[in-house]
């Protein structure tokens, strides 16, 4: 077994375990911390695929920014395991059904892929800064710019909602 395979297995086990722990842990703060570990495992996978840029951006954006905000809100609201309300039966049923449907959609999307590209370990350069930049700013420049405008409008919208009281 090569080091790459070993690293892949370790990272996968870590990702799946942390994801399960994130769902099952009662305290919201612990859930967030497990989720951060999931992001680290996924970043490790990116590094194995030689996509260093994606790996570090995943950490900067998700682990470094979004999760900090999550943690922020949870800590400010002082959510603990003991303050968590008992959810009623109907809500749980709805949750199971909607979660199950999402799983079905994802599974069918994966099954439908006819042409299976084997994962290129180590050699692929699709995730390096240069090739990613070339793809984003040459082939997909219009969708890229449109999505950036979308983000900007979402940001302005959030500011306006936050200012509503005045």
């Amino acid at each position: 077994m090569s080091i790459t395979t070993l690293a892949f297995i370790l990272l996968s086990v870590m990702a799946v375990t942390c994801a399960i722990m994130m769902i099952t842990s009662k305290s919201p703060v612990n859930s967030i911390l497990w989720l951060i570990l999931v992001f680290f495992a996924i970043s490790g996978h990116y590094v194995l695929l030689n996509a260093q840029f994606l790996a570090i951006v995943n950490i900067i954006v998700y682990a470094g920014a979004i999760m900090v905000l999550f943690l922020f809100v949870v800590m400010l609201m002082n959510l603990n395991a003991d303050t968590e309300p008992v959810k009623n039966y109907r809500l749980q049923l709805i949750g199971v059904i909607s979660g199950g449907s999402l799983l079905l959609v994802l599974l069918s999307a994966i099954m439908k892929v006819k042409e299976q590209h084997p994962v290129q370990m180590n050699i692929g350069d699709a995730g390096l800064v240069k090739s990613l930049g070339m793809t984003l700013f040459k082939d997909y420049v219009l969708p890229f710019e449109i999505s950036s405008v979308l983000f900007l409008s979402a940001m302005i919208g959030a500011v306006i909602i936050g200012k509503k009281e005045n």
Partner: protein
């Protein structure tokens, strides 16, 4: 192959990591001594002068004191997270040193050893990623303390670090537009070419405003005065480390000094030529001597920055919290954006 690793390489990297981490620990240790001396000089006192000549054994005495103090873990805290907080603070503080080029190559035992632990092509982004993780130590520690003042301190620190990260990132983009690479080593090599002994090649000449923004943000990221609201003792008792005692408190305080040292090194690498000693032609010497000169250059620049950090701390009073947020969001970010646009325009104009 990405992961084809020879044993010699592993040993080499381990030794390099051990040396670099212990050097940054020692520098941070003496930064605490230096801080007290600088404070004493600025306030017309003598400062620590009992332990050893000029008090140079003072950091050891301080460390021993912290180790021997009683360790208290609050009853209603989550114990694992309470210990994890300072551990994470130390970990993220030392992790950044991995991508910094401390010098060129040395030749030892017939091997060419690069004085950089990991020469990755995303160098700056790695630094940025680790900096953005630095919040967790403070946040987790403050929340696990189960104390409202700790929590307020932690939240202040987190919102401050997130706010100033933005301006820092935008000022870095302007620098990246000039250098055209994320690789820290290449950035240093580019700066070595320049007129007047290499001084004119430094990025500070091309990016004075960007450097100023980066410097202010570095102060904020390190929680240093005038941005030390996270531990403002007259408002928050002691800030996020109120409940901490013994060496766990020591780790929190110590990680601040490591952060200071590392950000000094990064500033000198990005804007002041890194391991480039001005007016010295490194290629005239044998590689080992040249590498030594390079390491000396980095350290001198870093120590100068450290002195600047301390000078500012004992000169400028603390901001109010709304002033801090206004400076970050309404002044630094627009300024950084303007700097980025001006840099882009200049590049387009001169390249035509």
């Amino acid at each position: 192959m990405l992961l084809a690793i020879s044993l010699a390489l592993i040993i080499e990297k381990f030794i390099l990591i051990a040396v670099i981490v212990s050097v940054s620990l020692v520098v941070a240790m003496y930064a605490t001594w230096g801080e007290r001396k600088v404070a004493a000089i600025l306030q017309d006192r003598r400062g620590p002068n009992r332990a050893g000549p000029f008090g140079i054994l003072q950091p050891l005495a301080d460390g021993l004191k912290l180790f021997f103090k009683e360790e208290i873990i609050p009853n209603f805290s989550s114990k694992f997270l309470f210990v994890l907080g300072p551990a994470l603070a130390m970990l993220t503080a030392t992790m950044t040193s991995a991508v910094i080029p401390w010098g060129d190559k040395v030749e030892l035992f017939g091997r060419e050893i690069s004085l950089q632990i990991a020469d990755v092509n995303i160098g700056i982004l790695y630094v940025f990623g680790v900096v953005s993780l630095g919040v967790y130590g403070i946040m987790i520690g403050s929340w696990a303390s189960n104390n409202k003042f700790s929590l307020m301190g932690g939240l202040r620190a987190a919102s401050q670090i997130i706010s100033y990260e933005l301006a820092m990132g935008i000022s870095l983009i302007a620098l990246l537009m000039i250098t055209g690479t994320l690789n820290l080593k290449e950035i240093v090599v580019q700066q070595q070419q320049g007129g007047w002994g290499g001084l004119l090649g430094w990025n500070i000449i091309k990016q004075p405003l960007g450097f100023l923004i980066f410097l202010i943000c570095a102060f904020a990221e390190c929680n240093r005065t005038p941005f030390d609201l996270a531990e403002a003792e007259n408002e928050l008792i002691g800030g996020y480390h109120t409940e901490y005692s013994s060496m766990k408190l020591g780790f929190f305080l110590f990680s601040e000094y490591i952060n200071m040292f590392i950000s000094s090194v990064i500033m000198s690498t990005l804007y002041f030529g890194g391991y480039d000693m001005p007016f010295v032609d490194e290629s005239a010497f044998s590689p080992n001597i040249a590498a030594l000169i390079g390491v000396a250059a980095v350290m001198i620049k870093a120590v100068l920055f450290l002195l600047f950090f301390m000078w500012v701390r004992w000169t400028i009073p603390r901001f109010r919290y709304d002033q801090l947020m206004r400076l970050g969001w309404k002044i630094l970010i627009p300024l950084a954006l303007a700097n980025m646009l001006a840099t882009g325009a200049a590049i387009l104009y001169f390249n035509k």
